[in-house]
């Protein structure tokens, strides 16, 4: 009986995320098209709704091309190593309402440990393709993922400090309840929480190689980075791994800062928590797509500057702000102290970046007059 229930839960979760993958790939194309004054896919089925199915069939029956000089074993293994850890991540997300699969005591550690395996997959893909663009793309991707892991972990530590646990379920429980009866006790509604949420969002975008940080697969210079020599179903697996990474990252953000399955208003508590969890997750995925449509791709030096000179110091300041908040007991003192610290840090950064000849401003060497 117990086994059946577990199997059912796994089935529900995997079905949901596979469906979300299909819907998100369609929604991404539709929304991107709308933002760029186009219509998007509208041929397959009503309003193009069956486009993911058509894509899937196309990917399945496409020829699987492997370069002659490629390392066949690694070339075959790389997509699997990419997708498998991402699927594992879904196991520990706290959906709430009895749908949570495992409540690991070291949930957050598990999350980072497992998600860091995908870096090896990127390396395997890049190296085994025997293509210099692939290798360059893999090098960029690894450098980017290793760098952005630092602020990601630093930011994820703040809720751990406040909630006093590494377990994601415990963290969600810590955010239950409502202040003055209406405002939920989510971490995102604190000064350190909003900064932490933004930082987490940015860093998980970079971890998932999404725009504006998708330069490992920048078409203009690297063809498709480590994916250059992949086609057919292996490519689809990589694509799926990328999307699953986004879902898992969004799920982590929901669990750490957006109160997991908590309802935004006490009136809405009759809706089961996992539905709230999925709603929040879908909204975050929508924002990821929206960001992709809005922001241009960065340069590699800008990317590293942003990480080491912007996000890492901010994450440290945020850590201090969270400690101050925790020991001042929340309330208005916390708002003044922690909020003041963070606003001060922002003003500092503003001044430093905008007053110096900031490196992420374009320099016109030829049109100097």
């Amino acid at each position: 009986m117990w086994l059946v229930i577990i199997q059912l839960k796994i089935g529900i979760i995997l079905t949901f995320f596979s469906l979300l993958f299909a819907v998100a790939s369609l929604a991404e194309r539709k929304i991107l098209a709308r933002i760029q004054n186009r219509r998007g896919p509208n041929r397959v089925g009503p309003c193009g709704l069956f486009q993911p199915i058509a894509d899937g069939i196309k990917m399945l029956i496409k020829e699987d091309v492997v370069p002659r000089k490629a390392d066949r074993a690694l070339h075959f293994l790389a997509p699997i190593v990419m997708v498998a850890p991402m699927v594992l991540l879904f196991g520990i997300l706290p959906y709430g309402g009895g749908l949570t699969l495992v409540d690991l005591e070291v949930g957050l550690l598990f999350f980072f440990a497992v998600s860091s395996v995908s870096e090896l997959a990127v390396f395997m893909a890049g190296w085994s393709s025997a293509n210099k663009y692939s290798v360059f793309g893999a090098m960029r991707a690894i450098a980017q993922m290793v760098s952005y892991e630092v602020p990601l972990v630093l930011v994820a530590i703040t809720p751990v400090m406040v909630a006093g646990s590494l377990s994601l379920v415990h963290m969600v429980e810590d955010q239950a309840g409502y202040a003055i009866g209406v405002i939920p006790n989510w971490f995102v509604l604190t000064p350190w929480g909003i900064v932490g949420f933004l930082l987490l969002f940015v860093t998980s975008l970079a971890e998932a190689n999404r725009t504006p940080f998708d330069l490992p697969e920048g078409e203009s210079e690297l063809v498709a980075g480590h994916l250059t020599e992949y086609s057919g179903f292996k490519y689809a697996l990589f694509f799926m791994g990328e999307y699953f990474g986004i879902f898992a990252g969004s799920g982590l953000a929901v669990a750490l800062f957006l109160g997991g399955g908590g309802a935004p208003l006490p009136l809405l508590q009759w809706i089961p928590p996992y539905l709230w969890f999925f709603v929040k997750l879908v909204v975050l995925v929508g924002i990821v797509i929206w960001v992709r449509a809005s922001l241009p791709r960065m340069r590699i030096d800008q990317l590293m500057d942003l990480c080491w000179k912007g996000l890492v110091p901010l994450a440290f300041v945020n850590l201090i702000a969270a400690a101050i908040w925790h020991y001042s007991g929340g309330g208005w003192q916390g708002w003044i102290l922690a909020g003041g610290l963070l606003v001060g840090a922002y003003l500092m950064l503003n001044r430093v970046v905008l007053r110096s000849r900031c490196s992420w401003e374009r320099k016109y060497y030829l049109a100097k007059s």
């Binding site: 390392d71 690694l74 690991l104 005591e105 070291v106 550690l109 598990f110 980072f112 440990a113 497992v114 860091s116 395996v117 870096e119 090896l120 390396f123 395997m124 190296w127 290798v135 893999a138 090098m139 690894i142 450098a143 290793v146 892991e149 006093g164 646990s165 590494l166 377990s167």
Partner: protein, 175 residues
């Protein structure tokens, strides 16, 4: 339980053997990552949950990736001929390690105090680990923090490219 331990131990040994014996450096690094992951599994099976995941996070996620990255950066020339299979240094090295292994194995086999079975120690939940780290192990913790900081700065200093004369950086410092 023991069967699981033995399977994982076999995985570890196969991975380590592949790491040592395979000629292709990339395969070495990847089987090293597999060995690290299997070690993490062994820690998990032994009940050290925290250490198991830390092992995977640090070794698979950081050290193996770093090694792989350095392999990419240094681009080892695979074309150069490898020395003879049984050179003097190689035989000497294998002999030394065999001697070390023989000594340790003999000691392990003969020791009387190692006959006891594995027993689960007292519960180690995250709470108590954290409290221990910040009370009885505070000094080592601080020392580790200093060590990691120094290592970070040292690594950055080592790996930094020295500005070449006439490059953009040195020109910028002039004007």
């Amino acid at each position: 339980m023991n069967v699981v331990l033995f399977i994982i131990a076999a995985l570890i040994l196969v991975g380590a053997l592949a790491t040592v014996c395979v000629r292709n450096l990339v395969y070495c690094a990847l089987s090293l990552a597999a060995t690290f992951a299997a070690l993490g599994m062994l820690y998990l099976a032994l009940g050290a949950e925290f250490i198991g995941w830390v092992q995977i996070l640090v070794y698979v996620g950081a050290v193996a990736v770093l090694i792989v990255f350095v392999i990419l950066l240094t681009a080892p020339d695979r074309m150069r001929s490898v020395g003879p299979l049984f050179s003097r240094s190689r035989i000497l090295g294998v002999g030394v390690s065999l001697g070390v292994f023989g000594t340790i194995a003999y000691a392990v086999h003969k020791s009387g105090s190692l006959k006891g079975s594995l027993s689960m120690p007292a519960e180690t939940d995250m709470q108590s680990i954290g409290e221990e780290l910040l009370s009885s192990y505070l000094v080592p913790l601080e020392a580790t923090g200093v060590l990691l900081t120094v290592a970070l700065i040292g690594a950055v200093l080592f790996a930094r490219e020295e500005p070449v004369e006439g490059s953009e950086e040195s020109q910028e410092s002039k004007d």
